[in-house]
Amino acid sequence: MKRKIILGVLLLIVVAASIAAWKYFEKSTNYAEKEPEMTISVKELFTAFEQDTATANKRFIDKIVRVSGTVRSFDSSAVVLGEEGDASSVVVGLDERNKQSISSLKEGAAATLQGKFSGYSKASADPEDLLSSLGTTINIDYGGVITKK
């Protein structure tokens, strides 16, 4: 009986330690590989934020967002989506694991990206604010390019 209790306790310790170790070493989520919680175009995203910023932020924050639009610029760390002549843009930071996904991108061409919505910034009317001329900026991070149709 005593032996069984000791064995049981030992087993519990091993299980608990395994869970703790698994939690500790678990890699951050690759959001570009998950099912999107929201699928939207750059244009629709801007409209949502122009109409009601607070509601839009509540709707999107921390969500896995799949967004389609025109590529303004890109490099190995981030992709900027938006329309030519419009200061507003959706900026997608690329997860280190998804860097190679940019090979399909072309400036001026359409693309679909996915990542975790991390926040927004709306141009202020304050002339002292240097960022006031940058339009709305929507940030998506831990991102990647979606190539499959």
């Binding site: 678990e26 951050s28 981030a78 930071g93 240097l130 940058l134 991070d141």
Partner: protein
Amino acid sequence: MVKKTLIAFVGFVLFAGTAKAQDRYFTKTGKIDFFSEAKLEDIEAKNKTVTAVLDKKSGAIQFEVQMKGFEFEKKLMQEHFNDNYVESNKFPKATFKGTVLNNTAVNYTKDGTYNVKVKGKLMLHGVTKEVEAPGTIKISGGKIDAASTFTIQLSDYNISIPAVVKDKISNTIKIMVDTRLEPLK
């Protein structure tokens, strides 16, 4: 005469407006990394979607970064950073508003790397503190690379380290800023 003055005035206003825009350089894909050497484990994260604007005429410089945009390798670190340390739901952004103190030492029309000193207000975790940091401004082919490495103390920004890991996590955080700025049209 009145007409000429009016035209000259309108011309001046238009010119002043364009001159202002041409003085500004920006990015929305700047990088800010932070690093903390710790007994338990080094902590590091990268943010690749930093917004920054530099006014080359006045030397005014501004940064904005979404705290939730910091990428960690480990999920647990990402969760602790956002929930327990910087409380990113409550304080979603960090901002810096400052000036290049020796802006006149930078020749923006000549390629080269210039050492600069930047001073301004850093807002993090809802606390604003004055910081001064060394940096470089590199001019090459009409583009500006602005970079800086400096340290901050977590305690200055009311970021508390839980007692259990207090001696394992450093209060000093190294921050590395790296931005490529393009003319703001």
